[in-house]
Amino acid sequence: MTTVLVLARSLRRMRVEGILRWAVLVVLASGLEAAGQERPMHWLNAGAMPPGAIGSLRLERGGPLSGYFQPVRIRAPQGARIALATEGGFSAPQSSEALIGMQVGSVYRLKVSNIPNGEGVEIFPTVEVIDRLYPPPGLALRFPIPIELTQEELQLAADGAFVTRVVYVEDPRQALPIARRAGEEQPWIEAPLGEDPLVTADRNGRPVAILRIGSRVPDAKTQAEFEAGAPPFVVFDRAAACAHPAANAK
């Protein structure tokens, strides 16, 4: 009788063990299949974050960023004037193209005036540099981050729209084989519906700057807030930026 009981118990254990083995195999197989799928990504930053937030988070990640003035080439339509916000208002208006050294993480407010076909209209875009470039020594001014203020987008902002433009460095392995000339208008794509422009830029390369156009004209109440916290910048001589784009373009 004892022998029968032991055999029956061992048989039950064998069945349970077999079931367990199959269960482990099924779990492993399904796990491998799940591992092969694309994992959902949770993006730390979003294009709708307030100006300065993304750059500040970038500074917290560390790196040789603090204190570095990243050259940024700002280009407005021909005839327009660009001025940068300082503590006492805005700097003297420059020509339609300026080469400015900006710090990562800071928000720089511009004033664009004398816009063609927009007499009396002033637009106040902001530029936020969220990453820097690492050029060889002496070539930093030759390869600035280009910020384009197009006539179309300035007009959109004047009509009440809010334009966000995320500038990124193209990944050479994903770059389209499109011939480009130095100095021509920067190509851009519209962010897909429902997708964050920062996410789109991050997929195509490395976001380095965010341009936001569409700020309201400050009134008497918001004037102080509007001009507060103007970060330091460096104005470079644009004509001396080591090479004019057209100098060697063929």
Binding site: G101, Y134, L156, P245
Partner: protein, 423 residues
Amino acid sequence: MSDTQDTASIAFQYEHLPIWWRCMLVAAATIILCSCSSPAMRSRLAADQSLVHSTTDVALDSEQDGGRTAKAPSPCPLPAGKGYAGCSPLSGSGTPNGPMPEAESANCEAAIAIDPYGPLPGPSDEYLCDGGDFGTPAGVKADRTIVGLEQEDAVGEYTAADGRVFVTPSNRVCIYAPRFAAVRRVVQVVANEQPVFVNAALEATSAARASNALPPISEKQRQGVSVDMGQRPPSLFRQRQQAGGLENLQAAMDAFTSLGAYANLQIIRTGEVSQAEKARLERSMQSAIALTGVQAPQVLFGVKMAQAEVGVRQPGMIYQANGPEHPKLRLLKLASCGSALPGEEIEFTLRFDNVGDQVIDKVTIADNLSTRFDYVPGSAKSSVDADLVTRENDEGSLILRWEIKHAVKPGAGGILRFQVKVR
């Protein structure tokens, strides 16, 4: 009694998992854990690029402007009648932040040191690289077709006297040429109207706004036009084929005497390493050494293991096979510029040498250009008799393939040159 003991032992055996089952579990867990490691990406190469000395920095002569701004002096005056001053004469380097060459320093005397951190290795997305053999190792099929030649790869293949086929990658050349693009989002501000109107009115307002926003969106089609502009008609490629025939008629002297300053080195002209040129070739050698560990150039042909020889005496990569005879091919690549803006042209020079002790035959040099390199038709030159064949790769650029017509004797070599335009 004995029956009871046997039954108990069987039961004891089944209470514990068998040894093969435990081993399988351990193996499965190991595989799962090991699968967490990501493959070597291109961006990791940048981290290996060593720091180099900075040039003589010119202090920022800034003058305060209202306490907030500083005006910088002219960083790089352009000499009259010359091209841009940032074009370094020698760039056979995978170390992008290398020291500024002498010529560049001479033209760019007033370079501004705006970076308090000095030259730093950065992400590789700012560089266009060409050369080497990354990703899938290149190989040769029986019909002499090169497989595994991915974008940016440049290899040479040849047949030894005993029939063995070898593949030799060149060193890697990186050029600083970042390209920018943008992603745009236009949002119409209608939120202040939403709580005021009923739904029907809101829809009407939104539709009116949408109609206003539609025209600029439709103008995006200029992107499509630019894509079409980038496509080259096949007729241009045919012309290039014809130009290849004419190039073979060029005397070898032409290629030798018209070498650019960046490639006018003894190792390019004759294949011999000169100690006097060691400093100028330092960047190329650093590149070769730094990249050797990354790409693990262990190539197996037949039953012989090919071993990479990369030392401080010889730039470029040399593969050696153990055997009674030692076929060796050295492939060295140089670029005329260390940086480039879109639209500028760069010349590449490939120097191949038979540094082995036997004649090698059917030497073929193949270069799969990067997406942003546009081959300049008719710019290819060769100091030896070679057929240039071009075909499109999958990325929208070209694969250049030189088939050297004659066998290369020990100590002999040749120079191949071509120009590309940076897209």
